[in-house]
């Protein structure tokens, strides 16, 4: 028993254990999602996070210990963002042809994301720090955190909002688009990437490669648009 305990003490503090758990939980989550035929409700990120959070809770493990192992997976987000250029260049001809719909949807969608988030929060009595953390919630995490902190928001709160927005978007984009009768995977994907960032883009790649390509474009363009529009809207508002 003493031996088992010492083994646990060693393993629980080593990056190997939590890296293995992260990959294992995701592999299991992906199996479950596949069994559910990638139904929007069976989102692999949500399932994997639930499994890991439960395990951390049961073993009394803190996030810093977990992240020491999981950081190797987290690190790959950077190169993966750069890699979104590959499908974009492959579809370059189509992207160039659709550049006007892309730019119009970008302006309308980015404004809608900012104004409806701040407007709804304001109407329900949220304070300024929360409103300023809500404003950039459809952008990628680093952009959202820097915009929030530059305008009186809370960066940690903004990071939480980005992830929750991604999960809401990833789980609702398919039923919403079907309800609208929208079959164009370029439009569907672009909306997913713009409104729901990286997690929305991951969902789009799960559904259709063209949707994934346009989602990557929406994610990158909305990061730029949000960084420009939030300060601009604030100046106009005052």
């Amino acid at each position: 028993m003493d031996g088992v305990f010492r083994l646990w003490v060693y393993l629980s503090a080593s990056p190997l254990l939590w890296l293995t758990v992260t990959l294992g939980a995701y592999a299991l989550a992906d199996r479950i999602a596949l069994a559910a035929r990638y139904a929007p409700i069976a989102n692999p990120v949500v399932i994997a996070v639930a499994l890991i959070a439960l395990l951390l809770h049961l073993t009394g493990t803190g996030y810093p210990t977990y992240f020491a192992g999981a950081q190797f997976v987290h690190f790959l987000l950077g190169p993966a963002t750069v890699a979104l250029a590959v499908p974009l260049v492959r579809e370059a001809a189509r992207v160039r042809r659709l550049i006007l719909p892309v730019l119009a949807a970008l302006l309308a969608g980015s404004l809608t994301a900012i104004v409806t988030a701040v407007g709804t929060g304001w109407a329900l009595g949220a304070d300024r720090a929360i409103l300023m953390s809500l404003a950039p919630k459809s952008a990628t995490t680093p952009i959202a955190m820097s915009i929030a902190s530059a305008n009186g928001g809370v960066p940690a709160l903004a990071a939480v909002f980005v992830v929750v927005t991604g999960v809401i978007g990833a789980m609702s984009v398919t039923p919403l688009m079907n309800r609208l009768g929208l079959k164009d995977y370029a439009a569907r994907g672009f909306a997913a990437g713009l409104a729901a960032g990286g997690i929305g883009t991951a969902r789009a790649f799960q559904v259709n490669p063209l949707a994934g390509t346009f989602a990557g474009l929406g994610l990158a363009l909305n990061g730029l648009a949000t960084a420009l529009l939030v300060p601009l809207l604030l100046t106009l508002w005052r």
Binding site: Y26, A104, G121, G125, P142, F205
Partner: protein
């Protein structure tokens, strides 16, 4: 394959350097993404190297968000300060942004004759 991974990291590094150096509120990987797109369009040789690595990474894009999302669960308490306005704002705004973006995209592409009668882009 190795050159492909090297290229992705190199472009991220260049992006991070530009982001830090210029003080722009744009993350390094996003700048790296733009620069890599330009480089790939110019060099088919680079495309051959980067293609398999990019395909592998993007296939598991969902996995890469798991560590950060686990952190969010731990921060759940932050939402309790104003749970109703926050949850309502996130739901309304995400749905509104999805709908408006997709409908404006379709409206403009149909107007310009860029999509077929079934609404699918050609």
């Amino acid at each position: 394959m190795l050159l492909g991974l090297f290229s992705l990291l190199l472009f991220q590094l260049i992006g991070e350097t530009i982001a830090r150096g210029s003080g722009l509120p744009i993350p390094g990987p996003v700048i790296g993404f733009v620069l890599l797109a330009v480089a790939l369009a110019a060099s088919p040789g680079l495309r051959r190297e980067v293609d398999p690595v990019a395909a592998g990474l993007l296939r598991y894009l969902s996995l890469l968000f798991v560590p950060a999302a686990v952190g969010v669960i731990q921060q759940w308490g932050l939402l309790r300060v104003a749970a109703v306005p926050i949850v309502a704002a996130l739901l309304v705004s995400t749905w509104a942004a999805l709908i408006v973006t997709a409908l404006v995209f379709r409206f403009v592409s149909t107007r310009l004759g860029l999509s077929g009668p079934d609404g699918e882009a050609r």
